[in-house]
């Protein structure tokens, strides 16, 4: 009864979301009396493999290296997981864009259901997961022999990244499917913390009015607080902010220590992505805005005055 965690990485380092998944796997291993292994599948990823071997609670790192695994193509990565899946009772992915892309392929090939977005481990086969944009929490039990799971990172603490000394085992890489190829990407480079791992998030809505205003008003506050920047769907759809900044039911799910929502009305779909934040601040000039119903501190004010004032005051 060993659990396998599929690492999210960039070939040199391990993405933070993986550490939350390790915590979930450790909780499962308490019930199943088993171990936690981690698969690092990539291209020239020995550095990431070394980092993975240091994660506390991991007893073995499985390392698969080939050009076909360079970009995490779903077809190739799923085949790599399936090649070793028979050794495991649980196969866990982070509920990130990468994990969500690959996990169902693995589940379907194993002819098992997938349990998406778990937020709590009740036992080796029973989990909690939010449904209807987090407006209900379902407790579900898998009847399949192998449990394929994606883990909502906000539901679990991060495992210690150091302190472990896992053995590394290299396995043969699977052949390229030949059906899919990576053509290019545009990954935004900045020094800000990652949205899903940030302690503080400042998030802007449609009230910002333009992409220039969004940057002019929100960026200085984020810089001052060392915060990540988020946005509502309305702001992203209007082109004020990049798509990967969207917080909500179908965007990023976040739970920082402090979430500051400026000019965000608080649609159900947005609340689903941030209502587990420890402290929520809402700045909105509409006293009836639904965001105030989840805010710890609400400030009824024009954000164009209040946000710069806040930037100066912190």
């Amino acid at each position: 009864m060993t659990a396998l965690v599929i690492a999210e990485h960039d070939n040199t380092s391990i993405k933070a979301a993986t550490l939350n998944v390790i915590s979930a796997a450790k909780q499962i291993s308490i019930f199943s009396d088993g171990q936690v292994h981690i698969l690092v599948a990539g291209h020239q990823c020995s550095a990431a493999t070394q980092v993975a071997s240091g994660i506390e609670g991991v007893s073995k790192v499985i390392h698969a290296d080939s050009e076909a695994l360079a970009h995490g193509l779903a077809e190739n990565l799923a085949a790599q997981v399936l090649a070793i899946a028979g050794n495991y009772s649980h196969i866990l992915f982070p509920a990130t864009a990468g994990g969500k892309n690959v996990a169902p392929r693995v589940a379907a090939k194993l002819d098992v259901a997938q349990i998406s977005d778990i937020t709590k481990v009740e036992s080796a086969d029973t989990f909690e997961r939010p449904i209807y944009a987090g407006n209900a929490i379902a407790t579900v039990q898998s009847t399949d022999a192998t449990k394929v799971i994606t883990v909502r990172t906000t539901g679990f603490d991060v495992a210690a990244a150091t302190g472990g000394a896992a053995a590394v085992e290299s396995v043969a890489a699977q052949a390229d499917s030949g059906k899919s190829s990576f053509k290019g990407g545009e990954i935004a480079k900045n020094d800000r913390p990652e949205l899903t791992a940030a302690k503080i998030i400042v998030s802007g809505g449609r009230a910002l009015g333009s992409s220039e205003k969004f940057n002019e008003v929100m960026t200085p506050l984020a810089d001052k607080l060392g915060a990540a920047i988020g946005a509502s769907r309305a702001a992203v759809d209007a082109g004020y902010a990049a798509n990967d900044l969207q917080v909500g039911q179908t965007g990023k799910i976040v739970a920082p220590q402090l979430y500051i929502a400026a000019g965000i009305s608080g649609a159900i779909q947005h609340l689903a992505g941030m209502k587990d934040s420890k402290v929520i601040v809402a700045i909105n000039k509409d006293p009836e805005a639904p965001i105030f119903s989840v805010a710890d501190f609400g400030l009824e004010a024009d954000l164009f005055a209040a946000v710069p004032e806040l930037t100066n005051a912190v």
């Binding site: 098992v112 259901a113 998406s116 407790t139 769907r233 209502k275 929520i280």
Partner: protein
């Protein structure tokens, strides 16, 4: 090239669902039902590809209760040419793996060049069916698409991923799942709604397709999420900063 577009009937996105008092599920009796918003984007994309001359026929499919016919009619009002309903019993908990198997059987039957699905249904929030179908049919996939182009017999798809965008080229036939920015679905007009009523709609049962749709996951309980305790309104920025520093101690 045929395009197959699976569509799901879900509680309308504007409805705030209530958990049943016996914790057996959410109450969907007498609640407005609509097409899953991501699936609407999928239908729109398929119809646009047909309008550009890149597809010959758009077939909408829905798996579920008899009322899914309404969802199929909506898809046909947007522009799908015909519909297929795979009708399941009202008391069946139809799960993504079973839907993917039903769709795989229809892919074998219809041989589409492209299958476009919504990335996620807004009721169970699973985000599984498209990827599962791709695996079962042994097809390449491009999920979370924000742009789809057909170039030299391949699909070039821009995907929304963590940190930005990436572009994949996948051979056809293939599975694409839609993200929010792919397109803005058109409003359906009354003449098109009337026209849709006359379009062909075939009905199958899972046993006609030789698929076992028994659920693999048991729902033991559905509960309300923990409520946040009510917060306070602050009169000005200075008070807000004071609260954040000295009460919440988060800055």
């Amino acid at each position: 090239m045929k395009i197959l577009v699976p569509v799901k009937r879900v509680v309308d996105y504007n409805v705030k669902v209530r958990v049943k008092s016996d914790n057996s599920g959410v109450d969907i009796a007498n609640v407005k039902m609509s097409m899953n918003p991501f699936d609407e984007i999928a239908v729109e994309e398929a119809v646009r590809l047909k309008e550009k001359g890149l597809a010959t026929e758009v077939i909408a499919v829905s798996c579920g209760v008899a009322q899914c016919q309404e969802t199929l009619r909506t898809a046909m009002a947007i522009g799908a040419d015909r519909g297929i309903l795979v009708e399941t019993a009202a008391d069946l908990d139809l799960q993504p793996l079973a839907v993917a198997k039903l769709l795989k059987a229809l892919v074998d039957k219809e041989q589409p060049g492209l299958i476009i699905l919504g990335k996620q249904a807004i009721d169970d929030d699973c985000n599984q069916t498209g990827q599962m179908l791709a695996a079962l049919a042994d097809l390449p996939q491009a999920t979370f698409a924000s742009k789809v182009e057909i170039v030299d017999g391949k699909a070039q798809v821009t995907r929304e991923i963590d940190g930005g965008l990436e572009v994949l080229s996948i051979s056809l036939p293939a599975v694409v799942t839609t993200d929010l920015r792919l397109n803005e679905p058109r409003y359906v007009t009354l003449p098109n709604i009337m026209k849709a009523k006359k379009k062909q709609l075939d009905t199958f049962k899972p046993e006609d397709l030789g698929v076992d749709v028994a659920p693999r996951i048991k729902t033991l309980k559905v509960a309300e999420p923990a409520k946040r305790s009510a917060g306070i309104k602050v009169p000005d920025v200075a008070t807000l900063v004071d609260k954040l520093k000295n009460v919440a101690k988060v800055i």
